[in-house]
Symmetry: C5
Subunit: 79 residues, 5 copies
């Protein structure tokens, strides 16, 4: 997974029907911004875990998404 920070959101009316009801967040990562389906109620400035690829779709009830926020990070610690 990648760590990212929620910085924005995206709205769309003309979209694949199976995307209805999904919330799309803009998450800034080290490799640039990613638009991800929110599954945990993340909000502005939250540090989150991002899952990408087929795994994300499976997690979003097979909606056509390739990125999903699966966790809000409480703490990141050097070992």
């Amino acid at each position: 997974m990648k760590i990212g920070t929620v910085t924005g959101a995206v709205w769309s009316t003309r979209k694949a029907q199976c995307l209805q009801g999904q919330t799309f967040l803009v998450v800034d990562t080290m490799l640039g911004p990613v638009v991800a389906a929110d599954q945990v109620g993340a909000g502005k400035g939250d540090k989150v875990l991002l899952v990408t690829g087929t795994v994300a779709a499976k997690f979003c009830m097979e909606a056509p998404v390739d990125a999903a926020v699966v966790a809000i990070i409480d703490q990141e610690k050097k070992l």
Copy 2:
């Protein structure tokens, strides 16, 4: 997903039979141009959401495509 802008289209007659009927748009993203199957009727200059990988194929009735336009973005807002 990635955000991109529709800048062109691609035509082909010699192609995999299961690609018949698909419209292929050129979408400029931060990581360069991607050719994507259009599923929402996007046109020139539209800002769109791009899904890549196996998810895109599933969304295009299992056609051999690895990128699809799944939404036209109305609004992108900083939170």
Copy 3:
């Protein structure tokens, strides 16, 4: 999908048995050369559409390939 240009080919005798009969083309893309199974009879200098990942394997009868040429591009047009 990515757009690329056919620049070469690759031969192998010691290979996975299920790769028998596949033609492997070297396709130059913006992100460097990719070796792809040819499914449309592409040749030198052809501008082609490249599909990558699991989708490519499915399209090649589940052979262990992760890239396939699925179309020869006739025309690419700015919209």
Copy 4:
């Protein structure tokens, strides 16, 4: 697979329910840090093998993860 070094860990309470019980390590790779589900009991400074994508999820009982530590490297040798 990619080779990486375990440098940290990540904690989360608000997360996808199916992530319960997974340990998330921060693994530094040549392409930047990746957060991976630990499947072998890796710890600080361990050099590990990292699997990414759908394969990682399958290996973690279909949890929504896209990276997993599958081995601790004893030795890496030039041939």
Copy 5:
């Protein structure tokens, strides 16, 4: 697929049980080193074809690997 050159190998005793019996080669590619399960008996200096992603796992009897050597290249020719 990517073309790479075998430059090393990796050993591990603490690993996922389903990785037993796999040989892991270090393959240098244009995008950096990749550790891949060897399926064709490749050795030092061999130029090989590398398959990545879910396809590689399927080819390795569903072992948790995301890269596999599927062919030793005899010849690469400009067309």
